[in-house]
């Protein structure tokens, strides 16, 4: 079996993840921050230490401004719902995932004004277009760090310089980049970073967070949910301090214990080495696919300008048929269709049919990529 669906979730996970989860369940899985006994404190320390480690990893000074969520989707919803009010204007990129587009479309119906910056054919945007779209009432720019369809990396630091200069906030969806590309919120002027724990960070599903920079006034950012926090129990109003304001309910401490282990693994292996590995595989995929007659590859087609996500079509074949054949006849697991990102497919010119997406990961080998390419070549040769 060849797993090329790491953009959906990374797999396999480092062995230490399952070990850490098992150990946490057996030794310290009390409710963190609720009771104050030794097991509760042990669990709360696991959560805190990860908070601190991730804050450092993303260049966020105050670890208490990093709040845990169930993943990028919840983080993006928290930021958008929390900050935007009727009459506010928000700007976004042409390659957003539905995690961003659906909350934005819903807010649009409630009176928030939305501008989508036009895209280039390979899924990028022009900084001049973005700057021109900013208005006095623009509150926020939302940017996908890298497309989950074409892998295209957007110029976050360059946009950050613009939003900083213009006094606007920048929210970055780092679903495809956290753990893969270096992210320094301070240096890149990212005000809100929504990240997932189960993709490039190699942790379990159900983990992620929102890192909130110093320029965001949290008094203006409403929580998405309200409830028990283990603090201020005598009051029936949600606490206004962090992280409790945004962390109602018992956290996914079991998942976070796994994420702490995968983050350690990542830092030991070195994210730069992993990025080089993924760039090599991406280059191999791009070269191999483009050599196959009838294959069309979407996106920048340059490993330096994309993450390890490659989308393609095959003339005369439905993408769903290709994926099914790859799975059943060749054991190659990938994802066909629109990838929850119709906006990105429109920009790339692959809407409504969609593409077949190959996304290698930290544990994919060159030999596996070679076998997947051979499988596509055989499909391309077979009569339709």
């Amino acid at each position: 079996m060849i797993y090329l669906d790491n953009a959906a979730t990374s797999w396999p996970k480092p062995a230490v993840v399952a070990q850490a989860i098992g150990q946490f369940l057996e030794t310290s899985a009390a409710n963190p921050g609720r009771s104050g006994h030794r097991l509760s404190l042990a669990a709360a320390r696991v959560v805190y230490n990860l908070r601190e480690a991730l804050a450092e990893f993303f260049g966020l000074e105050d670890p208490l401004r990093l709040v845990f969520t169930s993943g990028v989707t919840e983080s993006v919803n928290l930021a958008l719902r929390g900050l935007l009010r009727p009459g506010d204007h928000v700007v976004t990129s042409p390659i957003e995932h539905n995690a961003v587009m659906r909350p934005l479309r819903a807010l649009e119906r409630e009176g928030v004004r939305l501008t989508i910056v036009p895209g280039t054919a390979n899924g990028c945007l022009r900084l001049g277009d973005l700057e021109l779209s900013l208005r006095p009432e623009t509150r926020l720019v939302v940017l996908n760090h890298a497309s989950n369809v074409s892998g295209t990396i957007l110029p976050v630091a360059e946009v950050g310089a613009i939003t900083r200069r213009q006094g606007k906030l920048l929210l970055v969806d780092a679903a495809q980049t956290a753990g893969v590309l270096p992210i320094d919120m301070k240096a890149m002027n990212v005000d809100l970073l929504a990240f997932s724990g189960h993709k490039g960070l190699l942790g379990p599903t159900g983990t992620g967070g929102l890192a909130i920079g110093e320029r965001v006034d949290v008094r203006d950012m409403a929580p998405l949910k309200r409830g028990g926090t283990g603090s201020r129990s005598e009051f029936e109003e949600q606490p206004d301090f962090l992280p409790d304001k945004y962390e109602a309910g018992t956290p996914n401490s079991v998942g976070l214990a796994g994420l702490a282990a995968s983050l350690d693994f990542l830092r030991q292996r070195g994210t730069e080495a992993l990025r080089r590995h993924e760039m090599t595989l991406t280059g191999q995929l791009l070269e191999g696919l483009r050599a196959i007659s009838g294959v069309r590859v979407f996106g920048p087609c340059d490993p330096a300008r994309q993450v390890a996500v490659v989308s393609f079509t095959l003339t005369g074949r439905h993408v769903s048929d290709i994926a099914l054949q790859l799975d059943e006849e060749h054991g190659v697991l990938c994802r066909p269709g629109l990838h929850c990102a119709p906006a990105a497919h429109r920009t790339l010119g692959s809407f409504p049919e969609g593409t077949v997406r190959f996304s290698p990961g930290a544990f994919t080998t060159a030999k596996e990529v070679e076998a997947a390419l051979a499988a596509v070549a055989r499909l391309a040769r077979a009569p339709t």
């Binding site: 963190p32 921050g33 609720r34 009771s35 104050g36 404190l41 709360a44 320390r45 959560v47 805190y48 908070r51 601190e52 105050d62 670890p63 208490l64 926090t229 283990g230 603090s231 201020r232 005598e234 606490p239 301090f241 992280p243 409790d244």
Partner: protein, 74 residues
């Protein structure tokens, strides 16, 4: 003479941050259930030697750890 003091916090994650900051500064501290007479927003408080009051205050201020209040323990 007062032997210990406690630092109260709004939430446990701030208490844990304070614990790490002070331990790194080689100060002896312990997380304890918040003494009932002080009540608190948060279920745990950080106990420290009262003779360390100044360094405890300084370190927490330098690290920008938000605290609720500091009390001596009788």
């Amino acid at each position: 003479m007062t032997a210990h003091g406690v630092v109260l916090f709004h939430g446990i994650q701030a208490a844990l941050r304070a614990e790490k900051v002070l331990q790194k500064a080689m100060l002896t501290v312990k997380l304890v259930p918040t003494p009932r007479q002080f009540s608190s927003d948060c279920g745990v408080a950080l106990r420290f030697a009262w003779s360390d009051l100044d360094p405890v205050r300084d370190r927490l201020a330098t690290a920008k750890v938000e605290i609720d209040v500091i009390h001596p323990l009788e």
